[in-house]
C-alpha cells in the first residue's frame, strides 16, 4: 500500500456507466418518469396537431378552392402557453426526484463522483424522457391532424396532404420536445450537482 501514489486525479467514468446510472434512475421511478413522459407527449402532440391542421386547411383550400389562410393565424399563443406549462411540470417532477435523492447524490459524491457525473446522469435522464416523449407526441399529433383532416375533407385529403410542412413539423416537434425536457431539468440538475455531500448527510426524511 505504501507504494501507492500519494495523490491523483479521478478519471472520467465513461458514458456506459452514466447511461447505466440514468437508466436505473428512470426505471426505479417508473411511475413518475411516465408522468413526465406523458406531459411531454401531450405538449408536443398539441404543437404538432395545430401546425399540421393549419397546413392541411391551407393546402385543401388551394386544392378544393376558397381563400387560403382565411381562418387567420393558428392558436399559436395557446400552444406556447401549453409548452410553458409542460416545462414547469418537468421542472417540478425533476425537482422532486432530486430532493428525493439528496442522500443518494451525496453518497455518490462520497464514493468519488464529480459534480459533472451527477449533472450528466440527470440531464441524460431528462433527455431520454424528452426524446421518447417527443417521438410519441409528434406521432400522435400528426396522426390526429390527419384523421380530423380526413373526416372533414374525405378522400380529397390524399391530393392535398402537405408533405413538406409535414416533414418540417416533425423536425420542429422533436426539437421542441428535447428542448422542453432539458430546459425543465436544467435548474433541478444544477441544484443536484452543486450539492455538498455534507449537506445531504444531515438531510433526514
Amino acid at each position: 500500500m505504501r507504494t501507492d501514489k500519494k495523490i491523483d486525479r479521478i478519471k472520467p467514468i465513461g458514458w456506459r456507466t452514466v447511461l447505466w446510472m440514468s437508466y436505473n434512475g428512470v426505471r426505479h421511478r417508473a411511475g413518475r418518469s411516465f408522468l413526465t413522459f406523458l406531459s411531454i407527449v401531450m405538449a408536443v402532440a398539441f404543437l404538432g396537431y395545430v401546425l399540421i391542421a393549419d397546413a392541411i386547411s391551407v393546402q385543401m383550400k388551394v386544392v378544393v378552392g376558397g381563400e387560403p389562410g382565411a381562418d387567420g393565424p393558428p392558436l399559436m399563443w395557446v400552444v406556447v402557453i401549453s409548452l410553458g406549462v409542460c416545462v414547469c411540470g418537468i421542472a417540478n417532477a425533476m425537482l422532486m426526484s432530486v430532493t428525493e435523492r439528496f442522500r443518494e447524490i451525496a453518497t455518490l459524491k462520497c464514493l468519488g463522483a464529480l459534480n459533472s457525473v451527477v449533472l450528466q446522469v440527470y440531464l441524460l435522464e431528462a433527455l431520454g424522457q424528452g426524446l421518447l416523449g417527443a417521438f410519441f407526441g409528434t406521432l400522435f399529433g400528426i396522426l390526429l391532424a390527419c384523421i380530423i383532416g380526413w373526416i372533414s375533407f374525405g378522400s380529397d385529403l390524399g391530393l392535398g396532404l402537405p408533405w413538406l410542412p409535414l416533414l418540417k413539423t416533425t423536425g420542429w416537434c422533436l426539437l421542441t420536445g428535447i428542448v422542453l425536457s432539458v430546459l425543465g431539468a436544467l435548474y433541478p440538475t444544477a441544484l443536484a450537482a452543486k450539492m455538498a455531500p455534507i449537506d445531504a448527510m444531515r438531510a433526514k426524511f
Binding site: K6, I13, K109, C110
Partner: protein
C-alpha cells in the same frame, strides 16, 4: 510544521490521519459559533479509534473534517500525508474514492442497485475493469457473510444486511481510512454487535484505520483508542488497555 514534528518525529509516516491545530467557526447571524477550537491529533495506521462526545461538542465537525467533507477555517488535515485543504475537486474526488471509505448511520445503499453493484460502484469510479470489480466485490461480500445475497436489492435486505453491504462498499477500494458515522444507531443490540464485530475484523484483516463517531458503548470494547471531544476540543485520548475495567462494567450492564 513544528507541531507536526512534535506529534511524530518521523513526520507523518506512520500516521494515516493528522489533524493540526484545526479551528472551525460558523457564523450564524451576529454570533460566531466555535465548533472546533484548535484540535491537534494523530491516528496511527491500522488503529480503530472511536470519537465520543455529547451532541454540540464538535464531534461531528471533527469527524467531517477528517472525512474531507468539510473544510477547516484554519489549520490542516492530512490524510495519508496529503493536506486535503489544498486539493482541487478532481483530487478530492480521487481521495474520497480511493483513500476514504464511508459508513453511514442510515446505510445509504443505492436503492436502484443490487448488493453486488453497490460494492462495485466505488471500484468503477476508481477505473477498475468491470470483471475485476465484479470478482473483487463478490469476494468482499463473502467476507461480510453476504455471499448468498449478491443479487438482492436493498429493499430485499434487513438493516443489518444493508449495513454489511455498506461495510463491503467502504472497504472495496482498500482505503487508508474508513469513517463510520454512528454505524449501529439504527440497529438493535444484537445486530449492532455483529456489525461492530465485522468492522473490527475488517480493520484487523486489511490494516485499515477505522474512525467512528458513536454514542454506542459497545463500540468502546473493540476500539484501540477513544477520543473524548468536549467544547470544541479533544478532552483526552484513552488507550483501550487503560479502560479495561470500565468496559467490563458497561458490557455487564447490557444484560
Amino acid at each position: 510544521m513544528s507541531l507536526l514534528r512534535q506529534l511524530n518525529p518521523d513526520l507523518t509516516v506512520e500516521n494515516t490521519v493528522m489533524v493540526v491545530n484545526v479551528k472551525k467557526q460558523y457564523v450564524m447571524g451576529d454570533t460566531t459559533i466555535h465548533a472546533l477550537r484548535g484540535v491537534t491529533m494523530a491516528v496511527k495506521r491500522g488503529t480503530y479509534i472511536s470519537i465520543l462526545g455529547p451532541s454540540g461538542s464538535g464531534k461531528s465537525t471533527l469527524f467531517n473534517m477528517i472525512g474531507g467533507l468539510d473544510r477547516p477555517t484554519s489549520g490542516e488535515v492530512f490524510i495519508d500525508e496529503v493536506d486535503i485543504a489544498q486539493l482541487d475537486p478532481y483530487e478530492l474526488a480521487w481521495m474520497r474514492c480511493r483513500k476514504i471509505g464511508y459508513i453511514f448511520q442510515s446505510y445509504n445503499i443505492l436503492p436502484t442497485l443490487t448488493a453486488l453493484e453497490n460494492v462495485m460502484l466505488p471500484m468503477i469510479f476508481a477505473d477498475v475493469p468491470q470483471e475485476e470489480a465484479q470478482d473483487r466485490a463478490k469476494e468482499i461480500l463473502d467476507t461480510v457473510e453476504l455471499g448468498n445475497r449478491v443479487f438482492h436489492t436493498p429493499a430485499e435486505m434487513s438493516g443489518g444486511q444493508q449495513q454489511r453491504v455498506a461495510i463491503a462498499r467502504a472497504f472495496a477500494n482498500r482505503p487508508a481510512i474508513v469513517l463510520a458515522d454512528e454505524p449501529t444507531a439504527n440497529l438493535d443490540l444484537k445486530t449492532g454487535k455483529q456489525i461492530i464485530g465485522i468492522l473490527r475484523d475488517m480493520n484487523l484483516r486489511f490494516g485499515v484505520t477505522v474512525i467512528s463517531a458513536t454514542h454506542d458503548h459497545k463500540m468502546l470494547d473493540v476500539s484501540d483508542q477513544i477520543a473524548w471531544v468536549a467544547d470544541g476540543q479533544i478532552d483526552r485520548i484513552e488507550e483501550r488497555k487503560d479502560l479495561n475495567i470500565k468496559v467490563g462494567t458497561i458490557a455487564g450492564d447490557e444484560h
